[in-house]
Amino acid sequence: MTEGFRSRSGGRIHRGRKISFQFNGRRYEGFPGDTLASALIANGVSVVGRSQKYHRPRGIMSAGLEETNAIVQLAGNDDEPNRAATTLPIYDGLVAHSVNVAPSVDFDLGSLLGFFHRFIPAGFYYKTFMWPKDRWDWYGGIIRKVAGWGTAPAKPGGGRYEHRNHHCDVLIVGAGPAGLSAALSAGRTGSRILLVDSDTEPGGKLLSDNLTIRSCPAMEWVDDIVAELDLMPNIIRLTRATATGYFADNYVTVIEECPDKPWIRERLWKVRAKQVILATGAIERTLLFANNDRPGIMLASAAMTYCSRYGVRPGNTAVVFTNNNSGYRYAIGLLKAGVSVTALIDTRKEADSRLRAAAAGSGIEVIADARVVSATGRRRVSAVNIVSGNDQSPRRIRCDLVAVSGGWNPAIHLHSQSGGKPIYNQRIASFVPGESKQNERSVGACRGELTLQSALAEGANAGCKAAALCGFALADIEVPDCEHEPEPGVDPVWDCSQPGGQSSAFIDFNNDVTSADIRLAMREGYRSVELVKRYTTAGMGIDQGKSSSVSIVGLIAEIAGLEPGSVGTTTYRPAYTPVSFGAMAGPAKSDLIVPWRRTPVTDWFLDNGGHLDETGAQFRRPLFIAKADESAGDAVQREALAVRNQVGIYDSTPLGKILIQGPDAVAFLNRVYSNNWENLPVGRGKFGFMLHEDGRLLDDGVTMRISDNQYWMSNSAGMADVVLDHLDRLLHIHWPELKVYLTPITDQWAVVCVCGPHARDVLYEADIDIDISGEAFRFLDTRLCTIGGLSARISRVTYTGELSFEIAVPMRHGLRLWNILIAAGQKFGITPVGSDTSMLLRTEKGFIAAGLEGDGYADIFDVGMGWLVPKEKADFVGKRSLEKNRRSDGGRPEVVGLLPDNSDFVPPKGAPLVEYDRNDEVPQQVGMVTIGFFSPNLGRSIALAQLRDGRSRMGQSATIYTKAGVETATICEPVFIDPDGERMRD
């Protein structure tokens, strides 16, 4: 392939080496320094894609991240949808193709839709497809297939994405003249600076605009500055790094592509800056005329960029269409680059006389007071029709390139994201940053100061100021003189297509929105800019309206007869430019997504058949520990039998543990628990229930007095955090006068529970050094001891209703303790048990779980724990609400036991208990199964349930509703084994 449109020299490409790539199945070559867009232009490719709705052929329209048309799919290893060809540097092996085309970009069946263009204006779908009733799915299904751009890759890319936090004094966004000048002045003060630019090289507009500074090419100035900056240890300078989001408190996210470390695909910098300087430049906008989307019609600045930066000619015969002074410079620039410029069409009567003279001097015909009303040519523009002055008869000018300059839109996105409200500026007929809402200032073109001289001056000034605000002395900065540029002198014309003419004057190319669509929306009453946006989808595409949004506002203003300023903009929001999911997600997408807290026994479980599941508090613990080929159900039944008949061993480490210490510890416990805590002897524990202030159950557990003013509280694993927050909050906010300290000690102790009739035997076997007989060491006693040579705390608490000991050792000894106990228990048939088994055992025993039996608004009386609320007890958290809630009559969800009439039927957790009134179709729900099991110890199914007024219904029958049908059960006391608690007190 030849590169027919490549100029022989010039540009910032490196002609020494060729890069070959593929586009739409064909092989092409380009040079390092090319973007995919410039390389395609060099190879004479004009149609690069099809439009979203009408499938019109589209060509490259910009040279930056405002691109709306050249959106491509990368294939092969780099499979990726929706990349802008204009910001994609080419590389060896690049394979790309157009999106949204079938079968090919040259012959696209979808373009048939173009013929129906007039039938499908903005919002057409709201007006039809309502028949048959509720059958939008049919139509929607079809529309979905034709909508959308690229395709999602089928396989992971396997890229690594880094997230990095960064602090600096001054963050400078944009390394054009304004940003570089700011970096220099701020850098010289010694302040910490981060300078980011999304482009592959610093320089901004200077990379393509061929301006001069101190009478030398401006890029020499850039090179000097960059060299100086790169020597400063206080500056970090990033290229291909785009600031995409500006959040509260000067928190800015920057996405860096292909950072210095080859194994990292993209890096997300989370920057907290004391001061931010926005030097993001301005984006040129297009003008509206019929068929303004034809390939070969592009932004004038882009045409210039292709010529000067990439050494390619985007066309041979150009017409420049402008409403401001930039068009002149670009017309001359194109001419110098070897493009023949047939005409410069200026909407204004008067232009800067020097510019006019210069254009005329170069032999360009300047047609003032004129407009392009339409373009012709389908796959490439072939001519434009213009009208001028009062002469409405169109004149036709042949061309294969139309360079359009519709004025400049300062890139106010980040300012606006930071909370600033843009204001309309007449001088440039666009929006400029309003008052700063954060420590932020805009400089240069992004503030609407469009000349190089002001960019340099404002940058220097802002750099000094920002550094000074961070406490750095002012640096001496001289601003170099540069070539004079006239003010843009823009003429705000918003729509040049002839009113009532064809509706193919596109305003939003990406979403195929025309000026006629905007007019229609306005006519239909969608008059606010926000409604126009949503009704027409203008500005909602991939480019987020970078080059169109102001034109939309302008057009609305014109139609409504308002000032653009009073129409206002829509809300600018992150991301400034689309960001890969990978970069946003960062490392957390891996298995590190949520911390996995481990106990010393976790690995043992993994090696021994433990079926781990979420415990809460980020622990995972086994539901059961299955033998080879054992089913879940069998394992639980086996473990449950072992605990009741021999002995089980359980890892209690995840349970929350809080050390409560201080002279007011008892007062504190009295206020947070419903029961009384006076007179608990050292070495004894007590069961308590904590309530929410609104009267609901919070958590239950045993708290032990381990020394005169030290209490050791346990919480259920899943509630540990909630309880700690609750207590901490009460103590600090509500009762600061209490002398109590809370120390969470969960991670200090590994806790192992040995339970079952042989529990005592196991501990003796493991050489416990204290007397743990029933008389010497009673239920709820706690002592220090040594066991298997380890110093430990042993306590008698139970979750199963069996004789049970909890042994706590410092965390590092946890596994050793576990192994010692397993070994000692061998001859007693010790069986590791999981939490499902524990759940079964507590159900048999009727121990309630706050999260299950206490579901909903059930209170402490409902769950049968009223005995924990002494009549005479003074205020405690939840008491007042309990009283209030108890006053309204009856119908409380009381806990009962259920014995299913079919003793093999296990009532599923959550199944409704119902009553059928007068053959109602929908039964009345009167309760709910909170847990159900097949009890191996009883040889039948059992359940606990919440039942309305359940306690008065003992012995009656309950109806359990499941999706599969209805079952009945007998209502009984909620305890199935050892009702008097003899086993646990043994």
């Binding site: 509260a248 609104d694 909050r729 600090h732 906010i733 509500h734 205020d875 007042r880 609400s881 209030k884």
Partner: protein, 88 residues
């Protein structure tokens, strides 16, 4: 990510803290003297101020202390408490 000035540790990212509610929500000392209506108001409603609020935060993933800041709930901007500077 708002930047919260912990009086002990200085500014830290908001994800180190937990929000602790409006600061005039002190628990009454005499709940039994409250009418049901007044008690309901205390437990279920919060001022939910749209504007400047004074509120508790706890530096959970740092010093673990509670403190009060003043924040504009319309913008999340934190302003000095009682004119005292909260900068580092």
């Amino acid at each position: 990510m708002i930047y919260i000035p912990c009086p002990h540790c200085g500014h830290r990212n908001a994800d180190e803290f937990i929000y602790g509610g409006d600061n005039d929500q002190r628990r009454p000392e005499n709940p039994e003297e409250f009418s049901d209506a007044a008690w309901c108001e205390y437990i279920y409603t919060v001022p939910n101020v749209k504007g400047i609020t004074r509120e508790y935060w706890r530096h959970k993933r740092g010093c673990n202390r509670w403190f009060v800041i003043q924040r504009d709930s319309r913008t999340d901007k934190i302003t000095p408490l009682d004119g005292k500077s909260i900068d580092d």
